[in-house]
């Protein structure tokens, strides 16, 4: 076959595309058949004036390259076209150049001037691609030119070009590592860039060129954290991985208290030691903390650096990313950096990834396997997601098995074993073998089931598949080693198996067992040796070695019967082909058979051979894998890959946090307050930079609108976010306070001061707002100034005392519960208007309505948490949550809110009372407010509220309506009508509002609970939120989530609640039993299973967040 025909064959594929394009050129067919001329013709085409011909030629050349054919002799002809105007030709020339430039360096230089011109082109795409290709040409002579181009591009006005510059950095570095210092300068400059486009690429360059220069990150840390959510997904992965490393060097271990406790509580060690082996060190915290809280506080109170918190908070939403790499990156960040109580959030996301492609599954399972060793509790709720399907590929099955084994504990072992039982019957024999090993591991780890497992395995010995039997023998051997005296019958049984089992490993294991425990089977052992001696020559090496071993041991214990046999075996071994066996035989003979020459050792032969051997530890192959950063290639391979950056250990003492402060002249001193401040200030920068990169951006909402509006309210992200924020604030405040009054006094018990301060803090927020709102004309910058002044230390005292006053006022005000809420509301809406009305772009308007909406809900959340936290409102009935029925904008000035008043609805006891609050924000009166056209699910009923005749402008009215939801959470839809308008609205109750309180005694409760077992009982394990570990907080949260009343209870470890559903009067019983370390168990007994499950969910949410 000549080359030409082969080429034609190949050609067949590509011609079909091209057909339409070059069928018009009748010559092309001929060109291709004449092999030797083809390059000439291509050259001709490239030299022609017609772009279409050039394009055609380039396409063919690229196709040649793709097929691995050498097209390098065309280089001069192609290079000429680098200046071609047709952009597609140009791109293909670039492809060619990058491929061949290194081979033809001199010729490649011809093209450089074109790129240099391209770098000055007004079109940013051309500038960028010129830089891309220039930096991809690996010719050393042009390094200085590249360097210059990169430096210039790094200050280009187009972020796209700057991004390209960031990409060019590692290319140049790999070409000439001596440029490192200069490149670092460029990286430093680009790191300061504020566009999301550049962030990912420059961090990638940083990782490749100078990962050790962690100091470059300090100043950009907060910016990176804040930008993260808007960076493109690939950038996110790189940034998160880098920040994980960074955080490990800069912050303290959030779990440090636990490790300290271990050292500190030496006296208690034995007590806790008992459960340590089962659950590592997870269980101890709660109890000890109480006892030693004071002492600990003196020694080393752990306060999380606000920057550390910032990182955790900003990465959390990315768990919802569709990109598996991003989810994995966040998961490893949480695993390596988060406090134990918070790591749990990643489990759900990782389990979700298990639905993905099998490659993704493989990687994720590897990581999950490592995580389960350290933090088993995290994945326990998802146990069933790791169940194996017969259609899974074997390697996935084995990994899932690994995870299941790691997750096994006393409570779930029976389900797991049942599951294993089905696996054993699988047709996939490798998998069956792995399952048997897994059973072995479960048996060693969990003492209670050891006998069950052993029995199960013994039954497997009669399996027809030899592999299964062999594997079982091996595992049984390991198990028996733990307590041989109890199981001599099993050993006997196994001795019988030597006749049948042929798998060498299994035979060897049996022989070893008999030899080791020959005292337990004194009669059988010699007989086995006799049989083995007979078949010695036909055995595998590994079996032969064990036969010698058995012979030696028997000789030592029972030399009368076995002396001759041993001699015989040793003689056979002496002439074996394998030198190992010959060696062993010689060695053993010297040891056991006493001769004149034998040394001192033979006296100790018995001790040597029959020493007590420690039972093997069956452990996971994933143990200790976590010293590799999770999610990395090195972790996957369990070997260090090139360029892997070790994850550093936590520092002993935190490095100076002030390095992360961005220099702005006003703030000279470093305090935690300033830090908070900067977070806020950075955002305007960010939105500036967005403005510069194009008009379309302003159309997108959340992030920039958030920056526009949230600059003040910091980062209360969402409903519960506000709470966590306040906590953090109070923490940092504490820190500060401590600095001030270092020796003055010891801290008050932590919790008290915390809650006090947090309520202060929260009071202050609305305060700020109201201030602002009063001076209507205040501009953005004023706002900044104001909050600045508030956070500057000199004034902080004032503001605090102010807040104190405010707080008192607030308490006074809070007596009539509805009023202050309403007031706040109104202020907020005014605030929105001030903020947003002057927005310039027409596109922005609709987004604003959305935003203001979400802002209101944010604030609503705020006011809610306010009321929940303030001590005045402990009584459950006052912790009412307001829901929005009609927003001011959609309602054209009319705002309607509703809350479930939790009062009995007098006209009809089967209805839930809903209190509506109407506010007329418009300038005209609203008349005849009533409801119409009620649409309900079958069975539901509504008692309408009485018509409100007149609602003057600016006034507020309230009314009560009753809805019988039929114990379902289906929404009640109806129209709210005024004299001019109709609005569609709907009320959907949280499940907790579908019940009314009942009072039960402890005994009644127990009795009722006894009747609602089985299907009607739902039990859920949970880890209580750190702020919700006392009884008081639990009661508060549960009663806020559901309208239940407390049932008295003798134990302080349990809180019980009871209620009845409104419609059907079914009992609802809730028990929260707390354990150490924030662990708790929630039990809901309810005849209505749907209500029960939903209630469990809600209460879980309330207790864990």
């Amino acid at each position: 076959m000549s080359a030409s025909s082969a080429f034609n064959d190949d050609k067949g594929g590509s011609s079909s595309v091209g057909e339409a394009e070059y069928a018009y050129d009748p010559v092309s067919g001929k060109i291709f058949s004449s092999d030797y001329n083809r390059h000439d013709d291509l050259k001709e085409m490239l030299d022609s004036n017609k772009d279409s011909l050039k394009l055609e030629a380039m396409k063919r050349i690229v196709a040649m390259i793709a097929r691995g054919k050498n097209a390098s002799d065309l280089f001069p002809a192609v290079v000429k076209n680098v200046a071609c105007k047709n952009i597609e030709v140009k791109k293909l020339v670039y492809v060619y150049l990058v491929r061949y430039a290194e081979e033809q360096q001199d010729l490649a230089l011809l093209s450089i001037s074109t790129f240099q011109r391209g770098l000055k082109d007004p079109n940013q795409l051309i500038r960028a691609s010129a830089l891309r290709v220039l930096s991809s040409i690996r010719v050393t002579i042009i390094v200085p030119i590249m360097m210059l181009a990169i430096k210039e591009a790094a200050s280009d006005m187009s972020p796209y070009v700057r991004k390209t510059a960031a990409h060019a950095i590692p290319k140049l570095y790999s070409l000439d590592p001596e440029q490192k210092d200069q490149l670092i300068e460029v990286i430093e400059k680009l790191l300061a860039d504020k566009t999301t486009l550049v962030a990912g690429s420059v961090v990638m360059a940083f990782e490749e060129v100078c990962p050790e220069r962690i100091d470059l990150i300090h100043k950009n840390y907060r910016k990176l954290c804040n930008l993260l959510i808007d960076v493109e997904e690939w950038g996110q992965v790189v940034i998160i991985n880098m920040l994980t490393r960074y955080a490990r060097t800069q912050f303290l271990n959030p779990n440090i208290n636990e490790s300290l406790l271990e050292e500190g509580s030496g006296g208690d060690k034995t007590f806790y030691g008992s459960d340590e082996d089962e659950d590592e060190d997870d269980d101890e915290k709660e109890k000890e903390k109480k006892a030693e809280a004071a002492a600990m506080a003196k020694r080393k109170p752990y306060v999380m650096d606000p920057d550390h918190r910032l990182l955790l908070r900003n990465t959390k939403p990315l768990l919802q990313s569709r990109n598996a790499a991003v989810v994995m990156a966040v998961a490893q960040l949480y695993f390596h950096l988060a406090p134990k109580a918070e790591v749990g959030v990643i489990a759900k996301a990782l389990v979700r990834l298990l639905r993905s492609h099998s490659e993704v599954q493989f990687v994720v399972l590897q990581n999950v396997a490592t995580m389960t060793i350290k933090r088993r509790g995290m994945f326990e709720p998802y146990l069933k997601s790791f169940y194996i399907r017969s259609t899974d590929p074997t390697q996935i099955k084995v990994l899932k098995l690994e995870v299941l084994t790691n997750l096994a504990n006393e409570t779930n072992i029976s389900t797991i074993l049942r599951e294993f039982q089905t696996y054993i019957k699988s047709m996939d024999k490798d998998f069956v073998a792995a399952t048997i090993q897994a059973i072995g591991r479960c048996a060693t780890n969990i003492g209670e089931v050891r006998d069950t497992c052993l029995n199960g395995l013994v039954q497997l010995l009669s399996n027809r598949d030899e592999l299964v039997v062999a594997e079982s023998v091996v595992v049984i051997k390991k198990l028996l080693q733990m307590q041989p005296e109890k199981h001599s019958d099993i050993i006997k049984h196994m001795a019988k198996l030597t006749d049948n089992i042929q798998v060498p490993m299994a035979r060897a294991s049996i022989l070893w067992l008999i030899g080791e425990y020959c005292e337990h089977v004194p009669k059988i052992a010699p007989d086995v040796l006799r049989k083995m001696a007979k078949s010695f020559t036909n055995e595998e090496d590994i079996v032969k070695l064990q036969i010698i071993n058995l012979a030696a041991k028997l000789y030592l214990t029972n030399s009368k019967q076995t002396k001759l046999l041993t001699q015989y075996v040793l003689n056979l071994a002496k002439y074996d082909q394998n030198y190992d066996i010959r060696d062993r035989a010689r060695f053993i003979r010297q040891l056991i058979v006493p001769t004149e020459k034998s040394g001192a050792l033979s006296k100790y032969a018995k001790k040597l051979f029959l020493a007590l051997k420690p039972a093997p530890v069956l452990e996971s192959p994933f143990k200790d894998r976590d010293h590799f950063q999770l999610g990395s290639l090195s972790h996957l391979l369990n070997a260090k890959a090139g360029g892997y950056q070790e994850l550093p250990d936590w520092p002993e003492a935190a490095p100076d946090p002030s390095v992360r402060n961005v220099e702005v002249p006003e703030w000279t001193k470093c305090s935690s307050r300033e830090k908070r401040k900067e977070k806020k200030v950075e955002k305007p920068f960010y939105s500036d930079s967005e403005g510069e990169s194009g008009p379309t951006e302003s159309a997108d909402s959340e992030s920039d609108s958030a920056t526009a509006s949230d600059s003040r309210s910091g980062s209360e992200e969402s409903g519960s976010g506000s709470e966590s924020e306040s906590e953090e604030d109070s923490e940092s405040e504490e820190e500060e306070e401590e600095k001030k009054s270092k020796k003055k006094e010891l801290k008050k018990p932590v919790q008290e001061s915390e809650s006090e301060q947090s309520s202060e803090e929260e009071d202050r927020k609305p305060e700020k707002k109201s201030k602002q709102q009063k001076s209507d004309s205040e501009s953005e910058s004023d706002e900044d100034e104001e909050s600045e002044s508030e956070s500057s230390p000199s004034e902080s005292e004032d503001s605090e005392s102010e807040a104190e006053v405010k707080k008192k006022k607030k308490v006074a005000e809070s007596k009539p519960p509805s009023k202050p809420v309403k007031k706040e509301k109104k202020e907020m809406s005014l605030l929105d208007l001030d903020d947003f009305e002057p927005a310039p772009s027409p596109q922005v308007t609709p987004v604003n309505t959305l935003l203001s909406n979400s802002l209101v809900t944010d604030l609503e959340g705020l006011s809610l948490s306010d009321s929940v936290l303030s001590p005045a409102t402990i009584a459950p009935s006052s912790a009412l949550k307001n829901y929005e029925l009609l927003h001011r904008i959609t309602g054209e000035g009319l705002t309607v809110e509703y809350c479930f008043s939790r009062q009995p609805f007098s006209p009809d006891a089967n209805m839930v009372a809903v209190q509506l609050q109407f506010t007329n924000n418009s300038s005209s009166d609203t008349k005849s407010l009533h409801m119409e056209d009620v649409k309900l699910q079958s069975g539901m009923r509504v008692k309408e509220f009485p018509e409100i005749e007149l609602l003057p402008a600016g006034e507020t009215a309230s009314a009560v309506m009753g809805i019988d939801f039929c114990d379902s959470t289906q929404a009640a839809n109806f129209q709210l009508c005024t004299h001019t308008k109709k609005f569609f609205v709907s009320i959907q109750p949280p499940v907790g509002e579908l019940m009314r309180t009942v009072f039960l005694t402890e005994n009644e409760f127990k009795k009722e609970q006894g009747q609602l077992m089985g299907m009607n009982e739902i039990t859920e394990k949970l880890t209580l939120d750190a702020r919700c570990r006392n009884e008081h907080a639990i009661v508060q949260r549960v009663t806020a989530a559901a309208n239940l009343s407390r049932v008295p209870c003798g134990s302080d470890k349990e809180c019980r609640f009871a209620g009845r559903t409104v419609t059907s009067s079914s009992l609802v019983l809730v028990t929260v039993a707390t354990r150490e370390e924030g662990a708790a168990q929630l039990t809901v007994n309810c005849e209505k299973m749907v209500i029960g499950t939903m209630l469990v969910k809600d209460i879980l949410l309330a207790l864990t967040q």
């Binding site: 339409a20 394009e21 018009y24 017609k50 772009d51 396409k59 196709a63 793709a66 047709n86 952009i87 597609e88 791109k91 293909l92 079109n123 795409l125 891309r132 972020p159 796209y160 390209t164 990409h167 590692p170 999301t196 493109e232 997904e233 939403p317 919802q320 990313s321 569709r322 990109n323 598996a324 994995m328 759900k348 979700r352 490659e359 993704v360 069933k384 399907r389 017969s390 699988s426 047709m427 399996n463 027809r464 290639l633 990169s693 379309t696 159309a699 909402s701 959340e702 992030s703 958030a706 992200e717 969402s718 409903g719 987004v847 959305l850 979400s854 944010d858 959470t969 929404a971 499950t1093």
Partner: protein, 369 residues
């Protein structure tokens, strides 16, 4: 392209994508990128197969050139790519040959620069429409006795949005509390979801997956069908018996369609001799897969498959019965009960045409025997 890479491969259909890496890189990063490449090919050429790639090698080169720079992903949004490199159509290639135009865009796509890279500017449609498909898959393992060992629902909301301009959409559900775990297309505003449980987003143009979600096993998962089976291999002689009946269980009053049963028989089963009361069956001798295509499930007359299996003689009987994999579809039903309550559009004046479809499918639905 990714010049220095080692390891990591995966398949789509029969094609393997291999990427070589030399240094440390998150494995999922590579895997995810390769999937993105495969998806892009799919978008451009309609399928991702060897012939298609051979035929379009130039475009493939151009695409990879845009997607990767020195091994780091550059532009992976197919909306952006389509603006830079236009997908091949017959019409376009004809036009290009006549006018000498090219497939490559002259300008930097606007999406590349904005923070909404997924949407290109200046989209125009005469018919503005937005369709959403709520597709749920039931993953379940049912054991021999018919009890559910494990069941969960995985759902996705697929969207096909063809709207002009820059629409800002808000999609809300009747019962968002059902959703246990969600992941979103980057366009969805996460904060809005956290606060109000509504999906607020500026959609990409065309088809995309808006969200995928998970309804956990804590909520009782309705299992739409039950399977009565009896598969036995006789100890003596070389045959076995098989009988399978399928009936409706919790179908919420909808018809079960496209019912299909797949059983991977043990190697020793040589052939099968069965009769089906409904549908037809095939037995692949090489893969040992018995596939019974049933179609619609008629509750009055339950489909039944019975008959004998002939086994290789002299081989011990298989100790485990093969498990049964089920496939089915239920139109107009989301088995979790999830319902879209409304879709609102802001930012544009016109009135779009809206539609929602529901579909329930069997995912990995396995009955152990």
């Amino acid at each position: 392209m990714g010049e220095h890479r080692r390891r990591s491969a995966q398949t789509t259909g029969k094609l393997f994508f291999l990427s070589v890496v030399q240094t440390e890189v998150p494995p999922l990063f590579v895997v995810e990128f390769l999937h993105r490449v495969a998806d892009t090919f799919q978008d451009y050429f309609g399928e991702c197969s060897e012939t298609v790639i051979k035929d379009n090698v130039v475009i493939v080169y151009e695409l990879l050139e845009e997607m990767l720079d020195n091994g780091f992903p550059l532009a992976t949004e197919s909306n952006v790519l389509m603006e830079m490199i236009r997908p091949p159509t017959i019409l376009r290639s004809v036009v290009n040959t006549l006018t000498g135009g090219s497939n490559v865009g002259e300008k930097l796509p606007t999406g590349q620069l904005s923070i909404i890279p997924w949407r290109r500017a200046g989209v125009k449609y005469t018919n503005n429409e937005a369709y959403f498909d709520v597709i749920e898959e039931i993953d379940a393992i049912v054991d021999k006795s018919g009890t559910t060992v494990f069941a969960e629902i995985q759902g996705v909301v697929e969207a096909c949005v063809k709207l002009s301009g820059m629409p800002d959409l808000t999609l809300s559900f009747m019962n968002p509390r059902l959703l246990d775990d969600v992941s979103f297309h980057p366009c969805v505003r996460f904060k809005r979801w956290e606060a109000d449980r509504v999906l607020s987003f500026i959609p990409p143009d065309g088809n995309f997956r808006l969200m995928s979600y998970h309804v956990s096993s804590q909520n009782l998962v309705a299992i739409p069908v039950y399977v009565k089976q009896n598969i036995s291999f006789l100890e003596t002689g070389s045959c076995g018996r098989l009988e399978i009946t399928i009936g409706p269980k919790q179908t919420m009053g909808k018809t079960v369609e496209a019912l299909m049963v797949t059983i991977h028989m043990p190697k020793s089963v040589l052939s099968v001799n069965l009769t089906a009361t409904q549908g037809s069956y095939t037995y692949d001798l090489t893969t040992k897969a018995l596939i019974w295509t049933i179609g619609k499930l008629n509750p009055q007359k339950l489909p039944n498959l019975r008959g004998s299996l002939s086994m290789q003689s002299g081989v011990p009987k298989p100790e485990e019965n093969p498990s049964i994999n089920l496939d089915l579809k239920i139109q107009q039903l989301a088995i979790s009960g999830l319902k879209v309550s409304r879709l609102d559009m802001y930012g544009e004046k016109y009135k779009p045409f809206k539609g929602v479809k529901y579909l329930t499918k069997a995912g990995k639905f396995q009955v152990r025997t």
